[in-house]
Assembly symmetry: C2
Homo-oligomer: 410 residues x 2
Amino acid sequence: MSSFINFENANNLLNAEIDFSNKVSGLKPSAIREIFKSLSDPEMISFAAGNPSPLSFPTEQIKEIAGDIFTNRPVEALQYSITEGYPKLRTQVEDRLKSKFGINMDGMTTIITTGGQQGIDLTAKALCNEGDIIITENPSFIGALNAFRAYNVDIRGVDLEDDGMNLCQLEKILSENKNVKMIYTIPTFHNPGGITASVEKRKAVIALAEKYGVIILEDNPYGELRFSGEDVPTMKSLDKNGVVVYCSSFSKILSAGMRVGFLCGRSDIIQKVVVAKQVNDVHTNIFFQLLASDFISKYSLDDHIKGIRKLYFDKCSLMLSEMDKHFPKHIKYTRPEGGLFIWVTMPEKYDADLFAKEGVASKVAVVSGTAFTPKQGDKSSSFRMNYSTPSDEQIILGVERLGKLLERYE
Amino acid sequence: MSSFINFENANNLLNAEIDFSNKVSGLKPSAIREIFKSLSDPEMISFAAGNPSPLSFPTEQIKEIAGDIFTNRPVEALQYSITEGYPKLRTQVEDRLKSKFGINMDGMTTIITTGGQQGIDLTAKALCNEGDIIITENPSFIGALNAFRAYNVDIRGVDLEDDGMNLCQLEKILSENKNVKMIYTIPTFHNPGGITASVEKRKAVIALAEKYGVIILEDNPYGELRFSGEDVPTMKSLDKNGVVVYCSSFSKILSAGMRVGFLCGRSDIIQKVVVAKQVNDVHTNIFFQLLASDFISKYSLDDHIKGIRKLYFDKCSLMLSEMDKHFPKHIKYTRPEGGLFIWVTMPEKYDADLFAKEGVASKVAVVSGTAFTPKQGDKSSSFRMNYSTPSDEQIILGVERLGKLLERYE
């Protein structure tokens, strides 16, 4: 007899405890979500978000395209559609991957996903059994870490250095374990680490993936957001043998709320992601797929992105110059050439959880590095600051507040 | 050393075989998808779809609301949003669940999902470990069956009778197995079975779920589409002890392409679904959540649904009267009081796969019952016909073609 809901020990059935699946029982609402609760305080300055600037949305053009779609092809925008995604948008994405990101599409195909997050989630679902190993950078993107945790995968962190993954640690894990399925990496404008991996490191990671027969999931949501320095080739463009699956989205260049992303990889992998997506949400909302496609056809996506880059260059420069002014000299931080984040590291003896709490008490929110550790419970002396969302005034005031706090963290 | 990608046996790395996860390796593109490929033939009449009629979309109102949203609150519609869903829409959904579906919300809460499909998928993810048992009707909805298969759950089918599940079979499975976690049921206008479960059967299934401590997932996407007969209370409205999780969507009453659904259940269950959704797609596209909310505020959803009911009553009546005219007397079929489907049963000795193939050769597509068997590979002598999508002319011509074919199935 089943005892899934423990009715027997409960005063009444509504209070009976449920044994949730081992997939979700360990998952807690993320630390970032908890921080967001404190943001309802109107005096709080938040450097905690990962949101694009509202100024990055081309609202006038979107309004115009929406009016056109609902006037001229409403049924197409409102009816069920195919799981793979709107064919024209897939072609446009593939063209852009070729021309802007140097990706050779031979033997490769794409699927439109419900944001980049779904691409990460379903790639793990298609490739990994429970107990398999996924290697990630340490630190890594919390949304990916939690997606992997929900498949009961064994996540192994590899230290993130200034030019990418620590290769010795990476090869040690690969050589000592039979069941590594995937290396998850954010080589460009790392979240939260702020760094961009060198082309040498990228090639070395690909060589290791080939040697040990594992897939690389290259997550590149910020790749279009370079505002200084020189482009580094995507890992997918360096991938001659199809070991790299490439994931990105329109969230940071058109709209995050519309939930349109894409995945590019070997056709057999993408086909498995298609069947996984079919049982997950059938297809990504088709209206915004049409809208993204029309935007690309009718306007210059490049010109629009140029504006976002300028905006983020200005915001990042302001935040860095204020940090240079107010942060004590022993506090280290990245100087990003793109993306949304600065990664700040205090002396090792300090606990970033404690610092983040003190920040909230001083009305400025950052995200403690412990949110990004592959191994839950690991300590961190680093924290993440976002510059895309706060106003210039908030950047100036918030950095000053943090600087005062940091004086005690010497 | 890992051998996930079998490079060694391949001529080149791109041809190397990948061992996909046991979650997706057995999943094939659904039979329905395969049928859709044949639909590119312009002469093909399709009774195979599960799509709502394009006439059911309130396109004028949607266009107006979209213009208003992109004019007056574009940033809200385009920025990241919260995983639980737009609070006002959740309240509106809860109000409707109370007023129209008799659901008591005490101790219950809701989450907005990316279509009803995601609600089914994530409920299974939150509740079931690999190897656990989910009980479904036989036949059942293919999207749910495949979602469960992708979690390596053991699916056990219970025969669907004219008034609902076979209770003896249901209790036998519950009493003989420790690890039944969930009973998945579509009690109203069953897909594909066409029937509506009696209130007695609903109560009996709830009593068994309470006795054996398992959750019921009540899937009710067609509940608003009654066009004749008397309403039967939802199982959730009969649920005094929180064993029922209720799943539905706006797909059949506003738009399927917008991918907005909802789930209602015990707060602890919904909280686990929230963390599962957060790592799946972060949140459902917020623009269409705002749009659904505004539609409910500004227009009468009930009046709109009244129009859909009239449309489907007419289409279903036409299909049934043509079937009465052309189908041989020994062919049995349901006479639905709502929903989208008629379920046709030939004498047991016949193979519906073969019949469906002959249908396609005669330029009329139906879905063989084998697509809906909980146990993959089981035979079926039944098939599903949809009346919401074809035109009146197509219904008349297609039923005549099927009638001719069926004369040989005596």
